[in-house]
Symmetry: C2
Subunit: 346 residues, 2 copies
DNA sequence: CTGAAAGCGCTTACAG
DNA sequence: CTGAAAGCGCTTACAG
């Protein structure tokens, strides 16, 4: 009783430690460590005794303690916008697979597109001493990560570049992809083309808009600013803007949807219309091939993006490149029908 | 030089520790700890000096060390089949949100439906001393987790029950949902209904098949075993089986698809057929409402499942229920058109 | 082949 | 208000 009075609360549910195993097996601590880590220099008989004690006690090495001593946690963090978004699932899985190949676990976090939450998550992961960090940025200022990167946390930005610091980045050719998609609509006779995108301060949204303007300019098609709408991609706003662009005098005859959320909402609105309206969306959508017409999209390869980022990360952890690298991956136009509809009424 | 000769490899990139901060601020270690953890009992002036040293050195507390001393890691593990599957994204996000509410991080792992990999992942997470584990089982024998659970790792099984041990579980009403879906087809005049499901040893697959048989029996509709196909849900097999059931004498007039992967493949096959074939799928599919006809499904609420599991987990961590609990969540039939098609040729 | 001592970077339990 | 000592559970660097 007197002994337990000053005992701290049971740690890890009072799990046995190497010390307990050593006592039970009648050997030294280091010998247990040798057996647990399959190090050489233990007789068959000693090993047997130790293994017996391990099994009897249900011992499992505490990797937290190991990590503290070794200096590497064999874990990487991934901060993305929303794990529930179909774009991030495959990306996350790809990062996980590469990490697994390097014996590392993956800690996932959703920023919910909130810069404060991104920062909070990133720093929490750094405090846990993840070896590396893959960040799909929500914020625009990443100087808060400078000391962490300097201290050795390998960091790769994905989808959008880092703000205010030099760092590796894996991006899609957003401007080029959007330009190709809009050029495709122009080639099918459209001149009045709407663009509905995400908030303008988001890098990908701005780049895609740039691609749109570029394609229009190259075709000598003037852009009426009422055809451009940037903002939150919730269903309500997107539906309202879609309807607006299709109404009034001089409505658009085609739409370019800035991401998969926009595409889905726009499709729902268009499904209820009498006139066919051409549509090309950025990002592929599941079942897009089964709709009538099929949905023409500018697709990104989420898994490839994730794999590329993770490869870059582990390359850095193995001490490879010195300077920050920026990788740009191509997009792919997938023609399925919706982007080849001719302008209505012509 | 002589001094560095025996220095171990730089740990955590030679990050400053509390000791370094204490030395620079000219205070004791404990005082730094007090400031870092916002504990009371430090003068304004002392705190200022400590904070100055922290900023100058770029100190960030090492949570690995903290965890070792405190006994709880404030992290939970989630093992699922495949993060890239659209069903698991929202589920994972929901678990993350609950964890976040409890100040915990989420470590994700995909088992790829491989029991060995599930085990390996689960034990790796236990070795890192996660506080709790949410497991979507790939294997059928979970006795390997018994010592871990006994040692205090809160564990909740999701989607399928644990094998060989008593543990909390959150399940969907798989049999009831399938039964309702098949009854819906029967109510629309079908008698020859095909069932294409996952591998028969998978709990959800077996339960859904049970629901199918139950509905058929209740309607007095005999089941021809050629209408039932259980196996891997890759596109090739599912497409082949779909075609087979629609061919030959006495083809099926309706299909029940055992999960979202099956539904998608079946839809692709049916899209190329002349005769309309009725279809009800288990699990909702994105854009299912936009297809013509819309896809009638038996939907599960992935986010609700995740939230329920996480709530159970943290309830247990806070020392609540003693006995293992099993929660069964209802499914919901969503009528959109494909399930209401009448039998072809009648 | 084996093990005692020191230390990873913190927190705990004291004592001043 | 402040800090020295002990300890969390391992691994490292030695010595026998």
């Amino acid at each position: 009783m007197a002994q337990t009075a000053h005992r701290p609360a049971p740690r890890y549910g009072n799990r046995p430690t190497m010390k307990d195993v050593a006592a039970r097996a009648g050997v030294g601590l280091k010998t247990v460590s040798r057996v647990v880590n399959s190090e050489p220099g233990v007789t068959v008989e000693t090993e047997r005794r130790v293994r017996e004690a391990i099994d009897a006690l249900g011992f499992r090495r505490n990797d937290s303690a190991r990590v503290l001593r070794k200096g590497r946690t064999a874990s990487v963090g991934l901060i993305l916008e929303d794990l529930a978004d179909p774009f991030y699932g495959p990306l996350s899985r790809a990062v996980e697979e590469v990490a697994r190949g390097h014996g590392a676990l993956l800690i996932n976090g959703s920023s919910a597109e909130d810069p404060d939450r991104e920062r909070e998550l990133a720093l929490a992961l750094c405090a846990r001493r993840v070896d590396g960090l893959v960040v799909i940025p929500a914020g625009e200022d990443h100087r808060y990560l400078e000391p962490e990167i300097a201290a050795g946390v390998a960091t790769v930005f994905v989808d959008r570049p880092a703000g205010g610091i030099e760092a590796d980045a894996v991006l899609s050719d957003n401007a080029g992809g959007a330009r190709e998609g809009v050029a495709h609509l122009l080639a099918h006779g459209h001149r009045r083309i709407g663009f509905i995108g995400d908030l303008p301060h988001i890098h990908t949204a701005a780049e895609r808009l740039r691609g749109y303007r570029q394609a229009m300019a190259e075709a000598g098609a003037p852009v009426d600013e009422r055809w451009v709408s940037m903002g939150p991609t919730g269903a309500e706003r997107v539906a309202r803007e879609t309807v607006r662009m299709l109404s009034g005098p001089g409505p658009v005859t085609a739409l370019f949807a800035g991401n998969n959320r926009v595409t889905v909402t726009a499709l729902r609105v268009l499904a209820g219309r009498e006139w066919p309206v051409a549509l090309v969306g950025f990002d592929d959508v599941e079942l897009g091939d089964l709709l009538r017409p099929g949905v023409t999209v500018v697709a990104q390869d989420a898994a490839l993006i994730g794999r590329t980022a993770a490869d870059l990360l582990f390359g850095r952890l193995e001490g490879r490149p010195a300077r920050a690298r920026r990788v740009e991956l191509p997009t792919r136009l997938i023609v399925r029908g919706s982007g080849e509809l001719p302008p209505a009424g012509e």
